[in-house]
Amino acid sequence: MAVKDYIRERFFPHLWCPGCGHGIILNGMLRAIDKLGLSKNEIVMVTGIGCSARIAGYVDFHTLHTIHGRALAFATGVKLSRPELNVIVPMGDGDALAIGGNHFIHAARRNIDMTAVIMNNRIYGMTGGQFSPLSGFGITATTAPYTNIDNAFDTVELAKAAGATFVARTSAYHVNEISNLIRKAILHKGFSVVEILSQCPTHFGRKNKEGEAADMLRRYKEVTTPIGSKAKKENPELIERGIFVQSQIPEYCSEYDKIIQKAMKGQ
């Protein structure tokens, strides 16, 4: 099917600004789903609040646009109650790792079979450009007018430490990687995390003099490199892209089925 077959055209135009990276990620996500040949009826997309969260309205799946930071908690209820469904949870950086940080680490720890896609533009876009826990030291935001003194999380390291069994990262510049990584993340049996560096020219770019959308995208090409590349050895500042973790441990819903068997046997 074409990408537009997964879209609710009735609800367009979308509200993302010109140059926003989120549309690229949406496209990559839909191409991943198309390649997997999944039926639209078996996909549930759960989102929280923010620019990224509006993705739920635009796609022709079962869509649950919830409250700020709690998407993974809602998704946990959906998945555990009907494990045969594919649950995909796109989130923004603030949504996933500030207000939703606790749910994120616990979903990872549980290893419940869902795919978290973190669309990281390092800023709260919908509220007008405040710093997020992924903005990092030294950036400028409306709530950091004298520059930010909050350090950033490293999403990959956080996900690894919390026990996620599939952890990957790429950027909005690397469109084919987006769809490849999301496809592998959906196929992975367990909690999967894909961080995608996205650009917000309206707020982050403007405040931090990173230029227009195209400049910001070009920058992602320049500051990232594949995992373990020679470039990384020469310049440790570069951000690595690729799959950082891919391991198999018992998945939560499957383990719960065993609990049911145990409990029924004891009856």
Partner: protein, 382 residues
């Protein structure tokens, strides 16, 4: 015929009744004095093929059951004051998105940590107004185990009937008390199952278009109808809308679907109201002491009556007004600073005849506490 008689704790009654009602998904977080509900369900649910999950906090617990309700399950969470405070945003989400669920709040002393192991009835207004924005809500309560069983089943029935969260406002005293329960036979209490849409695949399904009777048929996530659920103001497709007509219609619908049916939703019990001179209005644990006073004093020829409320919200104003019309005084017996008192004063024609008999020190209000206040009101001194 031998009946299934149990001698159990109130929290366990709630568990057994929920299972009777069809509960098969529970998410929760431990908190005194509601924890036994989670403990019993962790054991009981997998025995019947249901699912139990202990979440990372109360926020996540309510969110998880809302997600599970959308896939077609009967769901519940249980908590106490502080946890109920944490749930308020998600509670508003369930109201707005009209997703059936049952939330048990076993009340303890507050605000804040208060007294976890002592009784209180001070969450009545939080149940009504805890989440932001105009909305209506159903809150139920019970004073003894037999009633608690039926009211719990009723809570599930109302959640399905009206597509709404229903709050079971228990208190520490009833929840931790052990007394006899005769477990109703299967079929003895009617169950309301989810109303699912008859719209077939390929035909446009409107998740938020009420039928003539006000009910909104649902479609399970994972089924043939793919639709959007959002906490934003939304149209009949569930898609965000800021159109004034849509917004107005939605708020009216959320209010009217319950407030206009307050009489149908109302559950109460009455004792000697017909010729009562003094009427006690009470609920939950406090109603036990009020009933004791009424029974005791009736034997001495005093004309005392009791109206025991089992539905607190929507407040049964018409019933309270009608029942209290002939009484010389009305005494609201509750373990808080007068939360139901205010609702009663608003309901009756002569608010100056309404008095409060309360305790707020974590100690169960006794019949003699109530008698002392009765004597004061009757001008007989203490």
């Amino acid at each position: 015929m031998s009946k299934n008689i149990k001698f159990i704790q109130g929290n366990e009654v709630c568990v057994e009744a929920a299972i009777y009602a069809g509960l098969d998904f529970y998410a929760g977080y431990p908190i005194t004095p509601s924890t036994e509900i989670a403990e019993h369900l962790a054991r009981r649910l997998p025995q019947i093929g249901g699912k139990f999950i202990q979440m990372e906090d109360e926020i996540a617990s309510l969110c998880a059951i809302i997600g599970a309700s959308l896939t077609g399950h009967k769901v519940m969470t249980a908590t106490s004051g502080p946890g109920f405070s944490l749930m308020q945003e998600a509670l508003g989400y369930a109201v707005m998105t009209e997703i059936p669920c049952v939330i048990v709040d076993v009340q303890r002393g507050g605000p804040s940590t208060g007294i976890p192991t002592h009784g209180s009835q001070a969450d009545v207004n939080q149940a009504r107004w805890g989440t932001h924005g105009d909305h209506s809500i159903i809150a139920m309560t019970a004073s003894n185990h037999q009633d608690l069983f039926e009211i719990t089943v009723n809570a599930f029935n109302l959640a399905e009937t009206y597509r709404t969260p229903v709050i079971l406002l228990l208190d520490e005293l009833v929840a931790h008390m052990r007394e006899r329960l005769i477990v109703p036979e299967k079929g003895e209490i009617p169950l309301v199952e989810r109303l699912r849409t008859s719209v077939t695949e390929g035909v446009d399904y409107h998740p938020y278009l009420p039928r003539e009777d006000g009910r909104l048929p649902m479609s399970d996530f994972g089924g043939v109808h793919r639709y959007n659920v959002t906490g934003l103001y939304h149209d009949m497709w569930g898609f965000p809308s800021s159109e004034p007509r849509v917004v107005h219609g939605l708020i009216r619908h959320l209010m009217d679907k319950l407030e206009n049916r307050a009489g149908q939703i109302a559950r109460f019990k009455e004792y000697h109201l017909e010729d009562a001179d003094v009427i006690f209005i009470s609920f939950g644990c406090a109603a036990r002491s009020a009933l004791h006073v009424v029974k005791n004093r009736q034997q001495r020829g005093e004309r005392l009556g009791l109206l025991e409320l089992q539905t607190l919200w929507p407040f049964p104003s018409d019933i309270v007004r009608e029942k209290c019309a002939g009484a010389r005084s009305v005494i609201v017996v509750e373990m808080n600073m007068g939360q139901v008192l205010q609702a009663v004063k608003m309901a009756v024609d002569e608010p100056q005849k309404v008095f409060l008999a309360n305790r707020i020190d974590g100690v169960f209000i006794t019949p003699s506490d109530i008698l002392n206040i009765l004597r004061l009101i009757q001008g007989k001194g203490v």
